[in-house]
Symmetry: C2
Subunit: 438 residues, 2 copies
Amino acid sequence: MSLSKKPYKGTRDFFPERKRELEYIFSVMKKTAEAFAYEPYDGPLLEEVDLYRAKSGEELINEQIYSFMDRGEREVAIRPEMTPTVARMVAQVHRETPKPIRWYAIPNLMRYERPQKGRLREHWQFNCDIFGAPEGKGEIEILQVAISLMKNLGATKEHFEILINDRRFVDAFFNEVLKTDQGTTYKLYKVIDKSKKVPVDAIEEMLTKAGVSDEQKKLFNEYLALNNFDKLTSFCSKYKIKKSCEGFLNFINDCKNSGIEEYLSFDTAIVRGLDYYTGIVFEIFDKNPENRRAICGGGAFANLLQIFKEAPLPGIGFGLGDVTLTDFLNTHKLMPDLKNPKIDLLVTFQDDSGESQSVLLAQKLREKGLKVELHFGNIRPKKVFNLTDKKGHSNVTFMGEQEVADNSVQIKNLDKKETKTFKINDIDKIVEFLGGIS
Amino acid sequence: MSLSKKPYKGTRDFFPERKRELEYIFSVMKKTAEAFAYEPYDGPLLEEVDLYRAKSGEELINEQIYSFMDRGEREVAIRPEMTPTVARMVAQVHRETPKPIRWYAIPNLMRYERPQKGRLREHWQFNCDIFGAPEGKGEIEILQVAISLMKNLGATKEHFEILINDRRFVDAFFNEVLKTDQGTTYKLYKVIDKSKKVPVDAIEEMLTKAGVSDEQKKLFNEYLALNNFDKLTSFCSKYKIKKSCEGFLNFINDCKNSGIEEYLSFDTAIVRGLDYYTGIVFEIFDKNPENRRAICGGGAFANLLQIFKEAPLPGIGFGLGDVTLTDFLNTHKLMPDLKNPKIDLLVTFQDDSGESQSVLLAQKLREKGLKVELHFGNIRPKKVFNLTDKKGHSNVTFMGEQEVADNSVQIKNLDKKETKTFKINDIDKIVEFLGGIS
């Protein structure tokens, strides 16, 4: 049996066109984060499993994690997410680092899951976090970063929206309105998580199973039906939970002054599962009904450093994966055409005597910062044009016997259909003809 | 016991300064490869172990690989090197792709080894390969790429050299001069590999152990003593192996016309172990006697696609890791100072009423492409200067009651010690004052 040429299940081979798309996405992520003065960081591919266990508990880590024993009997895992790593790193330095700490990373992550649309075993995830910002300020900025990223990728509010909720509100609803015990609250969190994906009957059934009363069911459905900030405010007044929800209500007010409100929709179904969030929680959603899915999730957390026995340091962050983002960009035709590499010049020669001059010319132009492809071996003009057609070159050199004798080179700009002959040493003039240094 | 804050053994946490250094290195790698029209690719973090087994055999893969069973009973490994992946990918597309195929990648890799200077369990490796180039041409170009990289990083021939040998020559020496059988040849390859690291007596002892005759020992030492291309040529004539070494001898001649000869030293100790090379083999060495180590290794191979039952496609490539490269750059003081991020402007306000204007100004400047850090909450000028001192900002805004009333902002350029007041809407003038868009 011959060896498989396919990549491992749920992972991808990035041939140049796809890799350029990935790099385009990364470059916009980097540019956006740095526009807000977020600094880059990275951590190890492997972490000890205890780190994930401390954050998520035994149940969650076992399901979707690539873990194994190393030869030193350490239980390690390929990072399935970046948050535990960033928490570990911040725990090392937060005491001596001026606040707020603004960090971003674009790590590759792996999760053991059934590959399907939008979900693969390996992906890259843009992570942005701010730690130690004054109450309410980091929330606004993190949302600005997320919105800027989408705008810098060419998306508008016709393409995406940010669904937002707040764990302080959800908790107040459970503790002060529904008055459920911890076990029931846990179950109802899961019902909320599923509420948009299942029919009404199914919700009814799940509530019955969770053992809630008819009165509680009514309240729960009233909660689910809240679909804008005004209704939320009325609800908080009606059930006297304004005090507990103060942080969220203030945040909503601040959003109005920050130019981000138009992207936000209040959505009670967003709770971000059983995660570690303690304040706002949000997801960026594709508005296209055929690609209706989250492409980003995040929120505020009070206590990420607790597992390291460090003093609490509040933070807000989000993660945005390349797989769903690429689907989003393709769906809305926002992915630039990166089929061909951008090569400034193809160097060819039509006589063997032109080789060494061509090699030298190519090298000199590269030293000026140009991207130069050398064709090995002499080649007839007709075949040159086959090549340039295939790879989309804009400029090509020709060097035959005559040019060699003259120490010159012919350069053709294929876009402008303009041909000019240069002395081989007139590097600056050649650079100028080629449009300068990009 | 509290959770460890340290990274997993043999891996690194990249705090912002280190991450910027890594990104600097990556950007020079990318720029260099693309100057030669090499296209980017990437592959999965995990590959099936069979891929490495097919390339390297059972013995080699077991020693240093992170392998484990996934839940679907597939034996997988974290990629310890990129060559098997690139071979697998090229095998998929080489039939319909115009030759030569020029590809590069900068993957993160893991090897299970004892961490020590220059060797960690996780590192990044710049991989450049060219497939299907005419005989001898790809070799020259790949060396040009490697040399350009070093030059683009600020290194000169005072800092590094390329030690080069050729497997065709080594094989001819074994087969036609020493006339050893395969088992002995295999042992002697290992002796060559170690020849520079052990004293002369130890070599003598290893040769005896390998069962070679006194005559063979004499020849072997004559081989090891060859230390320049002229001696190589004489040796090939003397022992009548010029025919078998033709490719290498031609290559040496071609180097003279390509401006790379000055970086090359013939070194019989370079054989690149038991690897898959079949032509030239080379290593870039730090010339500093205190950091005397290889920072790059590569060579030519005839048959990398064989394991996929594909027609032979010759290639040449190299790998260069970030750990040894960083040591090299630090040793020679070639690493730029990246302690602080490059932020175009720190936005501060000295009265609460300045907040919303400041937020808006920051956002408008970011949309122009500037990197803008917003300070949350009003702050006295003295404290502002503490901040700018610490993080090395070049420009800072001040906005007090007066400025708010005037719709204006004061901007101080800290390098030029120049302060100017602008109308808040004069974004273009502000951008100009800040030195334009980088």
